[in-house]
């Protein structure tokens, strides 16, 4: 049998890979397909992986499936950008709209652990007001969650991932001290700090989900900077090395290379299990509850693909909102050349941050943005030069000679929800014979205003530290959210505050899709906080006999 994790599943026959030991295994429970488990979870990323752990630890029987492979970071991850594209979801998708999204490396993963296997580890809390942005700030939609409750769950996730952050965080209400201390800032981060000081705004070390000290069998970060192509030391606290091993230890079963094609719903309107493709054939797993956690594109696609005569518009879609209100985050950058060597690729890519414009409301647009220091790997950098500036041949070679002197700042900006930005089904089919997603995306006037503001500001920040030849990269997005928003009203939302779908009470959605708004910070900490809360809520509902 091949040991290529992309070809044959590793988590089976009562064992799963031990991510901390080369060639090692850990025992894993194996559930029967014909006996209903309490929960089957589709997707094992920030949402699904976390929830699998919480539910298993609460004593439920859990099977969590992922379409992607079960990697062994110590062995499978090469310091090679091309090789590591194996981490991304690169199945066919159709993109259109005025600003078609570029799909793949910058926004979706396909692996046990989901996109957290190759995410950049930035772990930020929402600004409290964003949970009620409609009421308090006049845009978007209110969340059905109270920020104080979220504050408690953020703290739990920060503990669980041993987030390394500053001793005191300059913005927002007080938070407990980060469990691990911030990492040393590289030259790119120091450049951000100098720029902020010159512009008179605050900055701090970015709270990161990578270890600044040993933890169990995981090593501390070695600052080689291959984070977004998969961390080969296990310093990165991805779901793969945190929630998943915990989930398995608590009795959950993970099934890798298991693509769910359809959620089955019976005549009574209850979910009964999932049809999934593994080892060359379609199979069925019975379950008392189904959780969809496939991220903002695959989640609505699966719900739409599971339509029945009773639910002709797809599952959980009586509001008509499944697939709508897709929100990317703006990810524009300003780049320049520094006199001194920067070698920005050394260390995690975003070691310093300013959230100034998330907390300052003196702006002529809605929403906010943070910006961070950057450390693009060489191939990505060459690609950026080619796609954003059209450099090729000699001019590209000449530009790459200056790679060590490049300094840049990049935003994570809030884009507003619009129903016209959406995921629908295309006629084309994928390798499993399932209709693929069509992703339609256009920026709003507000989105443009925010981007313009950020580019102007960051350009001044770079000028202030004497960077030369400043240019802007004005067409980039990251992080996908929305498409199954949570809310307090079944007519205007897909799930309630507990991530439980209004229409099918044993169907849950627990990933980035449930965000009503995205804010100006990276989403994964919030996704994990919501998953932890959902786990607690399910436990409480079960105790009340209300599942």
């Amino acid at each position: 049998m091949s040991d290529d994790p992309l070809l044959s599943p590793r988590a089976k026959a009562g064992r799963a890979p031990d991510v901390f030991a080369p060639g090692g295994w850990i025992p894993m429970h194996a559930y029967r397909e014909d006996e209903a488990v309490d929960f089957v979870i589709v997707g094992t990323g920030a949402g699904g992986g976390t929830l699998a752990c919480k539910l298993a630890e609460a004593g439920f029987s859990v099977v969590a499936m992922d379409a992607g492979p079960y990697f062994r970071p110590l062995e499978d991850f090469a310091s090679d950008e091309s090789e590591q594209t194996k981490l991304y979801w690169t199945d066919d998708r159709i993109v259109d709209g005025e600003n078609p999204l570029q799909m793949g490396s910058n926004n979706s993963g396909k692996a046990v652990g989901g996109s957290t296997v190759h995410f950049a580890m930035v772990s930020l809390r929402f600004r409290p007001e964003w949970f009620r942005s409609r009421t308090l700030l006049g845009y978007g939609a209110d969340w059905p969650l109270d920020w104080r409750e979220m504050w408690r769950y953020y703290a739990k996730v920060e503990q669980a991932l041993k987030i390394a952050g500053p001793v005191t965080y300059p913005w927002g209400p007080p938070r407990p001290r980060y469990p691990y201390r911030a990492h040393e800032m590289n030259a790119a981060a120091l450049a951000l700090a100098r720029g902020c000081e010159a512009m008179g705004i605050g900055w701090t070390e970015t709270p990161l989900a990578t270890l600044s000290a040993p933890r169990g069998r995981a090593h501390p970060c070695v600052y080689r900077g291959f984070c977004t192509t998969g961390c080969s030391t296990n310093a990165k606290q991805s779901a793969l090395v945190t929630w998943i091993p915990r989930a398995i230890a608590a009795g959950a079963e993970i099934r890798d290379l298991a693509m769910v094609g359809r959620v089955e719903v019976n005549d009574a309107g209850r979910a009964t299990g999932v049809h999934y493709h593994r080892e060359g054939g379609w199979r069925f797993q019975k379950a008392r509850n189904v959780v969809v956690a496939g991220y903002a594109i695959e989640t609505p696609r699966l719900l739409l693909n599971s339509a029945t005569s009773r639910f002709p518009d797809g599952l959980a879609n009586s509001s008509g909102l499944v697939g709508k209100n897709l929100m990317a985050q703006s990810n524009q950058a300003v780049w320049g050349i520094s006199k001194d060597e920067i070698r920005s690729y050394k260390g995690p890519p975003s070691l310093a941050i300013t959230e100034h414009w998330n907390y300052d409301d003196n702006k002529d647009f809605f929403g906010g943005y943070s910006y961070m220091s950057q450390g693009p790997l060489p191939q990505l950098w060459a690609n950026t030069q080619m796609s954003a500036r059209g450099l090729w041949g000699d001019s590209l070679m000449a530009e790459m000679e200056r790679y060590n002197h490049v300094v840049g700042l990049k935003i994570v900006g809030e884009m507003l929800p619009q129903e016209s930005n959406r995921v629908t089904l295309a006629d084309a089919k994928d390798q499993y014979g399932l209709p693929i997603a069509r992703i339609t995306y256009s920026w709003s006037e507000n989105d443009r205003a925010l981007i313009d503001h950020s580019l102007r500001f960051m350009a001044r920040a770079l000028e202030a530290i004497d960077a030369r030849e400043i240019w802007t990269q004005d067409d980039d997005t990251c992080h996908l959210n929305g498409t199954a928003r949570m809310g307090g009203d079944p007519r205007t939302s897909v799930v309630d505050a507990d991530c439980r779908s209004w229409d099918i009470r044993n169907l849950w959605i627990c990933d980035g899709s449930v965000f009503p708004t995205v804010g100006g910070v990276n989403p994964s900490l919030t996704i994990q906080a919501i998953a932890c809360r959902t786990g607690d809520r399910i436990k409480a509902l079960a105790a009340l006999g209300d599942l």
Binding site: P166, A182, E197, W203, A213, P214, V222
Partner: protein, 306 residues
């Protein structure tokens, strides 16, 4: 596995303790009975030597890590090596008089500590964030040059002791035993402060990381009491506590070796992990200071009014 490591470590500690005892007894037997002051002076040479050794190795590794970006970064290496050499000489030298070269080297070492502190403060203050945790953690360590300052001071002190001809030794007009107790107490506190800062940076991820921020400060307190003249009855406690602190210095190096092994690649990858892991030579400065403290106690015992 874990307990096996703990066991060997325990055994090693016991063995080291026994050796320390032998060393102490051996040294005192070789010292001429007639000159307890010289005995104390030689002990101080020894203490200063251990500190210099710690500085030599630590600044060697750390400044190598900093690529000797500034030529001045060689200075602590040269000075601590010289200080180590003259300390060896002093430890073996039972003549009652101060030695001009030793004296000069010690003074220069102390000066290096002062200038080094200046450099390190400058390095921290020019970074964005100034006196922020980031810079205290990762800028030039403010407390590190203090170790060479202390080693120089102990040396100078030892030479002054040899010069002293009075019935109760004084140094710079102050009672030698008490002043030395106060000086080493302060040194222990400062060193514990630095360990505290760096262990805070490591988030106290291992409970043993609390040892250097608890044991040495107690020793410092006991020495303080001795300096103030309160410790007649608790002197045995002070002595044993100082011995414990001396042991801690050795044990700390062992823990740091374990810490190095927890980095990616472990000891097989020592070229990187020794640089990135906890500093191996740092903890023995506690041993050096504790031995100086024991010398101070010796002085106080031999001359009750010292």
């Amino acid at each position: 596995m874990r307990t096996a490591i703990d066991k060997t470590m325990q055994n090693q500690l016991v063995a080291i303790a026994a050796q320390l005892d032998v060393l102490e007894k051996g040294l005192s037997q070789h010292f001429p009975r007639r000159e307890p002051t010289v005995r104390a002076a030689r002990r101080l040479n020894g203490a200063s030597g251990i500190l210099s050794m710690s500085v030599l190795a630590d600044s060697g590794i750390e400044h190598y890590r900093g690529s000797f970006e500034n030529k001045a970064m060689f200075t602590p290496l040269v000075m601590s090596a010289l200080s180590l050499a003259v300390s060896a000489h002093g430890t073996a030298d039972s003549r009652p008089d101060a030695h001009r070269i030793r004296d000069a080297v010690y003074a220069a070492a102390a000066l290096t500590g002062v200038v080094g502190t200046g450099f390190h403060v400058y390095n921290v203050l020019k970074r964005p964030g100034r006196l922020s945790w980031q810079n205290l953690f990762y800028g030039a360590p403010l407390g590190a040059p203090m170790a060479i300052l202390l080693s120089g001071l102990l040396g100078v002190y030892s030479e002054r002791l040899r010069d002293d001809r009075g019935a109760s030794p004084t140094v710079f007009g102050l009672p030698a035993g008490r002043t030395l107790a106060a000086l080493t107490g302060a040194g222990l506190l400062g060193t514990a402060g630095e360990a505290g800062l760096l262990h805070f940076r490591g988030a106290y991820h291992n409970p043993f990381m609390y040892a250097p921020v608890t044991i040495p400060p107690v020793a410092a307190g006991l020495l303080g009491a001795a300096a103030a003249g309160f410790s007649g009855r608790t002197r045995w406690l002070t002595r044993w506590w100082l011995r414990l602190t001396a042991l801690l210095g050795f044990a700390g190096a062992g823990f740091h070796a374990y810490g190095v092994s927890r980095n990616m690649g472990g000891w097989r990858n020592w070229r990187q992990t020794v640089l990135n892991g906890p500093p191996l030579p740092a903890p023995p400065s506690f041993t050096g200071l504790a031995l100086a403290g024991l010398a101070a106690l010796g002085l106080l015992e031999d001359h009750t009014d010292a």
